[in-house]
Symmetry: C2
Subunit: 340 residues, 2 copies
Amino acid sequence: MRAAVLHAPGDVRVEDVAEPAITAPTDAVIRLAATCVCGSDLWPYRGVEPVAGPTQMGHEYVGVVDEVGSAVASVEPGQFVVGSFVASDGTCEICRSGYPSSCVDRVFMAQVGTQSERARIPHADGTLVATPGTPDPDLIPSLLAASDVLGTGWFGAVAADAGPGRTAAVVGDGAVGLMAVLAARQLGAERIIAMSRHEPRQRLAREFGATDIVTERGDDGVAKVKELTGGLGAHSVIEAVGTQESMRQAIGSARPGGHVGFVGVNHDVALSGEELFFSQVHLHGGPAPVRRFLPGLIDLIWRREIDPGKVFDRTLPLDQAAEAYQAMDERRAVKTLLTV
Amino acid sequence: MRAAVLHAPGDVRVEDVAEPAITAPTDAVIRLAATCVCGSDLWPYRGVEPVAGPTQMGHEYVGVVDEVGSAVASVEPGQFVVGSFVASDGTCEICRSGYPSSCVDRVFMAQVGTQSERARIPHADGTLVATPGTPDPDLIPSLLAASDVLGTGWFGAVAADAGPGRTAAVVGDGAVGLMAVLAARQLGAERIIAMSRHEPRQRLAREFGATDIVTERGDDGVAKVKELTGGLGAHSVIEAVGTQESMRQAIGSARPGGHVGFVGVNHDVALSGEELFFSQVHLHGGPAPVRRFLPGLIDLIWRREIDPGKVFDRTLPLDQAAEAYQAMDERRAVKTLLTV
């Protein structure tokens, strides 16, 4: 089958690889309808994370079940499914407490690769959710978004305690940040400040529910958020970048007693304990427990109450994955969908 | 009047200072019944925090109101009062949201000094709580504890979400750590692991409700807590030290999705964003909003349901403040009460 393989920083090739197969009774194999390129795929693509030889890429996926292992009970061949970017058993104490992304048996799908024609999904029962039927084609981008960026932005907004009567600020205007805007809106936040300096992304943020745009960054961005919130800071801040500057900007933008949900995968970040102590914020984040939110998100999409698929501003066939990576790396695209 | 004054690291003297006076209509002046030495007083005493000339010390206090400013409505001369180590207006949005220790008009009482015969209390209405009557003398240590260490340990346990069905671990066996054990017990935690290597403190921890003692520290301490919790870590961890090692130990001891309440004033702590991200804990702390808890704590003490005063293992007259500091610095005392 065809799959996107990263050979070295900047070098993505679509080539023939071995077909996936059931290796454990809890596995499923799916035929992908669509996959996509994630901001976190850019870390190895840019050489920030090491690349240890040719690696199949991708961790977002929707498609049709082809085959299931003998222990799989909740999905069957022919069903259209959405799954999380982390496979989880669904039965351990951590899964049951709502944190499947920290499941004791978790498998990061990035270690399997889903930018391919078919993919093996470990822990199928704990990972996949079947849609109510075969989706209309125009719903596929939104369902694909649920697999990671929507679920991640949603977790950020939940971790930031976004809700009625509250002001939420979102640091980062990538796909996850934009999805966090949508989530804050759905959760009922009264005012949503998107921090973005890119006009097309500002427009998308407004479409998803942003009420204010702040273009300043760092300390200037913090000052602007405080100015907009009576000097106090936002109740809820979602951090969707993962750098030292964005983490400090997020913590600084929250009021004492406020909540910061951080979902940007942190790279080379050192937080000052003193600053965190006196900020008096709640800080919570990590790899999003997307599976917790999937049934609800699929329902919202199925009923066409949200349209997160708009976050994809480019669509290419899988064979052009190299261009998909390059477009995102050069910020010519927010997020690129790959049809399979 | 007499007051404890820090002249240089290690040099505390009790000497005559100016009498306090009402300087704002919202002030009160109280005559102290008792005060004490806090772990955080040891930072400047040890020279870890700079000492800028002679400084009146102390921020914990109980006593009788002597005089009030014209705008004070909730307390009156003759009443016995307990107040927080942070004076707060009680009316700003941050106070009303439950975070008086981050009040927009806050005054840290450490900047005023309460190891003295009398003390000025700013924002008397927002800061002081009158007891139901004149307390029996044996209740005074417990009421004094409520002013800081009990309220701080309580906040740590609340921030750590300690409660029924949960395992709580407490990092730090100083007065705040011991009070956190008591708080976790009151909040209903099923199992309480005190991390302590000092036999007398272990004994006190058990009296306050600890069910398990872990003597290991650092990575070994984390491993031991995991061993006691099915490999997962505690649901709730209270950090009551404030060092790099104790913060890492606390975060490492919590399970994914668990809560870390950190109330040790952080000094030279840098937290790895990556570790925090993948730990998936909730982190919340800072200067405890003691005033939020005071009415409830006074009630528990008044009804003799808790006896936090046991945390004081030494009592000296104010004039012997120098010895009180030395005993705590040398860990000969957990916490020293000063009678006035």
